[in-house]
Symmetry: C2
Amino acid sequence: MPPLDRSLVATLPAFARLSGEQVDRVLSAARSSRFPKDAEIFAQDEEARSFFLLLSGHVRVVRASPDGTQVIPRYINEGELFGIAVAMDRSTYPASAVAAVDCVVLIWPNAAWPEFQSQAPGFGAEAFRTIGSRLQETQAQVMEMATQQVEQRIAHALVRLVNQSGRKTDEGIEIDFPITRQDIAEMTGTTLHTVSRLLSAWEGEGIVRSSRRNVVVTNPHALVLLAENRRRK
Amino acid sequence: MPPLDRSLVATLPAFARLSGEQVDRVLSAARSSRFPKDAEIFAQDEEARSFFLLLSGHVRVVRASPDGTQVIPRYINEGELFGIAVAMDRSTYPASAVAAVDCVVLIWPNAAWPEFQSQAPGFGAEAFRTIGSRLQETQAQVMEMATQQVEQRIAHALVRLVNQSGRKTDEGIEIDFPITRQDIAEMTGTTLHTVSRLLSAWEGEGIVRSSRRNVVVTNPHALVLLAENRRRK
DNA sequence: CGCTGTGTTGAATGCCGTCAACGTCGGTGG
DNA sequence: CCACCGACGTTGACGGCATTCAACACAGCG
């Protein structure tokens, strides 16, 4: 494996608080790995042996319930830590992680974690920040599911996706990884049928343009209105 | 204020990893305070200046959305840390905390946090564990709201309440703080009407006994069945 | 060229929210 | 002490949103 270069990661939040020397030390404990599209990076309930940072690509986090229905709590974006069960003192992963596109990932053995805590505490601090903001997001999602209609939840999910993973095109902002109606349904606690109907309706209103595994938001402002307020009369 | 005695807290998880000396040091930075029933301990979006540990009583955590609807993400039990925005590097509280009964609370200024990190790292570690398990719980709740019917969600909420805050009586297990139909509705993302109907139905089946601001689970096993599986045919 | 995964759309059902009316408890003030 | 009032709880009726059921269309792939 080629040695990892400091410049690859120095700008990422996880490394922002570290000295150059610390960055090298943390990187030297990592290996990088490539996962093809649809590959499972780790599985729910599997023993957590490693933690991860996404260098490039997009990762879908999936939680499955015993009865088979599944939920997508979030997508991981480039530069984010994930699978940090060790920071929560958990022995298994609470969800599965699947490459939504071809991905490159840094992998550390859990054994490196306590060492980093003393040798590069800024790294651990950033991990805790990550967990804190995930908690925030997740609680916000509970509120949303408790108080909002399906239409608003789907609109809000799309807004989040384009904000975090949007790529500007001449048509509008495109979600830059393949995503199905079923995926959106699993993010919002609804069915692919309802998602399909709403996307069709929005397409009729010029708010989005969508095709197979692809969504482009052509009128972000209108989508935000749908998400926040009630529909414009 | 009387000095706080080590024996008051030594058995709590937050102090379990600390030496006696460390316990004293952490305690000496705290003040204790009493909050009468319905008093607000801190308010959502208010600047986070302190963090807390509940010595006795029960605290209701409430998140309100701009439009006024509110959600109860959890109740805090005796011995738990709460309001630890500082550990998540947040400057405001994400929710309000209200005394559900008369409460006694330990309060630390946020300024004490970094000092504890170095002087009593086991304390910070427990705080991070707490945040991790809150994240787990919250994600589980998202799954529940996405996949389960109202009846199962309410059943599950009651199961959690009796497990965490149950008091054994000769009738069954009683939730040992006042709780209204509205409160249960806000925990489960439904309306007080639906909660009332279901509690009435369950009372008819001998699963619960409830009165004003009071719920006793007389048949916990049946309630668990309602929560997990589908209703028995 | 068939098969599987994905997407669309119509129709029917049903859960549960909404609206409404009433009952009860407990505290407060005259 | 009693009357009043607000908070809490119950129950019925109705309706709408979203799921469920169903059928079909289309793309990509082996």
